[in-house]
Structure formats: structure tokens, C-alpha cells
Symmetry: C2
Subunit: 298 residues, 2 copies
């Protein structure tokens, strides 16, 4: 059992961790830290946290973290470095530290930059449960049920701390996987970061066209689904893309190559069979992906 859980960043992700931890009886007390005073007040009012610490005030973050035995950093990944700098003076070898950032090599680099070395009691983590909603009012104690959580421990990571973080997420209903940070960043560059980049690029391009020709009024539900991730927070995704650009840029190049090939197929004299085979392979690949989902909407 956790005595004092400190959640830094009480938005959708952090707020949902707090709610789920409380509902599961995993902790005695929850300390919430946020730089957005309105969101912080709301978190307190909703009972998501027991006490509120304003990260915008000097020492606000540190005074919450120093009395906690479990610290979850749930800020956007772009804020990880300043959070670590604020944590450093009160960092305790007896506490457990973990995060929820969407890129993992950058998080480990930030730890090394701030502390001079990997910290054995910090377990880098990434719950796969994003959404376009944000803020504590969107928090949901069931958010992590049947969702994947990736942990990317290092050789230096304390084995007992790692087990505790695994158990914590499992108690929230998540399916925990371990992999290296490099593999994590490679996988998510492909299945998450590249699709976001692509959705932003398509909507950016068509947005210009729309201003000339009003094409959006004729777009339907397929377009709405396809572009939903282009409504994601631009600040957060700017950070993710920059922090993982080493993985994303080669994938953009791969995709351009893929589009060249498809354009060549489409333009060919007798394109029929090849194009059908191409679309069928893609459809079948998506069916393989869908097979992982239980019965929910596809």
C-alpha cells in the first residue's frame, strides 16, 4: 500500500491514475500538483486529490513530492526536464518514481542530464490510453482497464521497484509489457507518432484547399475518423515529435517511398490486379491488428 501518492500533472492521465488508485484502495492519501490553478482547484473539488500544490509557485512541486513515497510524473513529456529539476532537491532513495511520457529515450536522457546518472528508483512508463479530451474533469478511474502500459527499465533499475510499478499498473487493470526504451520509441514512432504526423499533414494541406474551395463541407464520417488525431494537443505533439524525431524522420521517408510505389501502381497502364492486391494486403494487415481487440467497436 502506498502511503502518500504524489501525482504531478492532474490532467486526464494523472487524474485517472489518482481516481483509479483511490478506487482500488492502493493509497492512503493523494497529493496533486498542477501548474493550472483552475484545473488544480477542480481536482480538489472533485475529490480526485486530497491536497493541492501549485506548481507555478516556487517550491510548490517540491513540497508535495518530498512527503510522498510514490511519485507519478504525468505532465506532457515536454515538461519532464523542468519537473526533474524541481524534484532533484527532494529526491528520496526510499520513494518510487515513475512517469507516463509518450517517448522513453528522451525521458531517460533527461534523467541523466538532471541527475548525472540513471536513477535506480525511477521506472520509465507509458500507458497507451491517450485521448483528445484533457483536464481532470475527463479523468476516469476505469481508463486503464484492459489498456497496455509499457515500462522501459534499464539495467540500473532496481528490480523490486520495477515489480512494485508493474503491480501498481496491474492493479489499475492494465496489461503491463516490458521493453527497451529504444524499442518502445521505434514501435510508437510507427503506430502512434507517424499517424499523428500524417493526420496533421493531411489536414494542413486540405485546410489550405478548403479555404479556396470549401471542400470540408462535403467530407463525411470516414474523414472525421481519419483526422480525429489531428485534433490532438499541438503543444504535446510538437514535443513528442521533436523528442522522437530520430525515429519519426526515417518513417516519413519510408512512407514517401510507399506513396511513390502506390502512385506508380495507380498510374500504371494495367493497374487493376496489382492495385486490388495492394489494397487487399492492407485490409488484411488491419484485420491482424484488429484481432487484438476484444469485441468493442472496430
Amino acid at each position: 500500500m502506498i502511503d502518500r501518492l504524489c501525482v504531478i500533472g492532474v490532467g486526464l492521465i494523472g487524474g485517472s491514475i489518482a481516481k483509479a488508485a483511490r478506487e482500488g484502495g492502493l493509497c492512503r492519501e493523494i497529493l496533486g500538483v498542477d501548474a493550472d490553478g483552475d484545473n488544480l482547484a477542480k481536482a480538489l473539488e472533485l475529490g480526485v486529490i486530497d491536497s493541492a500544490f501549485d506548481a507555478a509557485q516556487p517550491g510548490g512541486l517540491a513540497s508535495a513530492a518530498e512527503s510522498a513515497d510514490w511519485v507519478v510524473i504525468a505532465t506532457p513529456v515536454g515538461l519532464l526536464s523542468p519537473v526533474l529539476v524541481a524534484l532533484r532537491p527532494v529526491w528520496s532513495a526510499l520513494a518510487v518514481y515513475t512517469d507516463v511520457g509518450s517517448t522513453k529515450q528522451s525521458v531517460i536522457e533527461a534523467v541523466v542530464n538532471v541527475f548525472g546518472a540513471v536513477q535506480a528508483n525511477f521506472v520509465p512508463g507509458h500507458p497507451i490510453a491517450g485521448a483528445e479530451r484533457s483536464g481532470v474533469e475527463a479523468a476516469d478511474g476505469g481508463l486503464y482497464r484492459n489498456k497496455r502500459v509499457i515500462l522501459t527499465p534499464l539495467p540500473e533499475t532496481d528490480e523490486a521497484v520495477l515489480r512494485r510499478v508493474e503491480t501498481f499498473w496491474a492493479s489499475l487493470g492494465a496489461k503491463v509489457s516490458l521493453m527497451t526504451a529504444a524499442h518502445h520509441d521505434e514501435v510508437f514512432a510507427a503506430t502512434s507518432h507517424l499517424p499523428h504526423v500524417l493526420a496533421y499533414a493531411l489536414v494542413h494541406m486540405l485546410g489550405r484547399k478548403d479555404q479556396q474551395q470549401e471542400i470540408f463541407q462535403y467530407a463525411g464520417a470516414g474523414f472525421r475518423d481519419f483526422t480525429r488525431i489531428a485534433s490532438s494537443n499541438p503543444q504535446m505533439w510538437k514535443d513528442i515529435c521533436l523528442l522522437n524525431r530520430g525515429q519519426i524522420l526515417p518513417l516519413i521517408a519510408d512512407l514517401r517511398h510507399e506513396l511513390d510505389g502506390l502512385a506508380a501502381l495507380l498510374g500504371a497502364e494495367s493497374a487493376d490486379e496489382d492495385l486490388l492486391a495492394y489494397f487487399t494486403e492492407a485490409r488484411d494487415a488491419r484485420e491482424r491488428f484488429l484481432a487484438q481487440f476484444p469485441d468493442e467497436s472496430r
Copy 2:
């Protein structure tokens, strides 16, 4: 009031037209034509149609159409030419003909090829209500409510016939717009065909990666939404893409150019502000698109 409505292709689109027309009291009798015997039997059994004509039998299609005063061609757009060839011997100047194809210049070309000239009583149409579901069992009398239907009449189109087709769709609850076939094909290449091509290309590329590295198991709901259209019927989309490739190929080139620009931004030394501005512009463009939708899920 239509006396005998003949629906050629009693799938999701045609079946929904039949159900909606009956529920709205727009016709006395519905003749269904389909080349899939099981689907045809099901349509009869469900009462979606009053009599069934097997398009796979010689003369099946013609014998349904010749007694009808209103003929809706609701086959995949790739089958339009053979359907027109079968209709030609029984074509009546007193009947109304319309279609639902996703490309419109190709449909008009097919009419000219088969008949030697545009037909004044044929109104090219396109309801924007696709879905990945198919078959008459998915048919829904409310499918066209608040959906857009585009009609692309020609100078030769009979004005009274056009008004009747407009009224027909409006009676099914649709919002009818008129535009040229060329403009239709340009708009839908951008908002529908290009996204499909892109989704197929992305999933095709990642499918290969998945076979090496099992990346799909870590993909989440964002990826599922983004790739939903890659589960669309490959045969139907192969036809659409080939029939409208003149519009789609330049857009693929534009998108490659867009991706080059975005990759350059992402790789730049001081990318921060420019990338944030880019993503923000894209997000704002999507908000403009969403503003057209009432209150439903975004």
C-alpha cells in the same frame, strides 16, 4: 409518387434507399436486382424489396428495369458500364434513372460510351453515407437522414427529372447539393479518395513492419480510428481510385510535398515554434471541418 422503384444492387446503399423509400411512402412497389443470390433472397425475406431479380441470369436486370418508372443504380461504381449495357435495350424516356457512384465523371463517360450521348433522364448522384458494413442486412431506412447527397447534372439533363431526384433525396432526409461532375471528383479526391489511399498505404507499410516486429499489438484507439477506412472494400476502392486517378495522383504528389515540408520542419535546428504553428494550423483546420457537424461524436 413512384409506382415501381427498381433498385439495382440491394446492398447497404441500395437497400437503405429501398427501406427509406418504403418508410416514407414514396413508392408503391420495389423491385430488387442483385447478382448475389444470397443477398437477394435476404432482401426479399426482410421485406426490403417486393420482388427479386437475379442479375446473374440473362435478362434478369432488364426484366426488372423495364417495368419500373424509377431506376436507382446502386452497384459499386466499377460495375456501372455493364449495368448500363444491360439497361440499354429497355431504357425508357418516361422513367427516371439515377446512380450512387463515388466518382461522377467516370459515370457520365460510361453513359456516353454506352448510349453515344448523355441521357436527359439520367441524373448522376452520390450520397455521402458510406460505411465499412455491407449487404442488405446492414441497410437502414435512416441512413440518409442529415447526410449530404451530391447531384451532378449536365446541361443536357432534363430540369423536371432533376427536380424529382432532388425531391426524392430530400424526402429521405438528405441535404442535396448540385455541382459539376468535375468539381465533385476534385472535392472527393481530396476529402475521401486521398485519405483512403493514405490509410491503405500506411497500413500496408506498417503491416510489413508488424510481421518483423509485432508492432500492432501496441497500437491503440487512435491508430484504430485512423486506419478504419483501410478496412473498406478493396475491390470497390480499387475501382474508385482507378476511375478518379486523374484527380488523385496530383494530390498524392501534393501530399508528398507537404510531408517533405513537415520533415524539413521537424529536422530543423530550431523547430519548436514552426512545428507548433504547423500543428496548430492543422488542428484549427479540423475544427473548421467539425463545425459542420451538429452535436454528434467528433
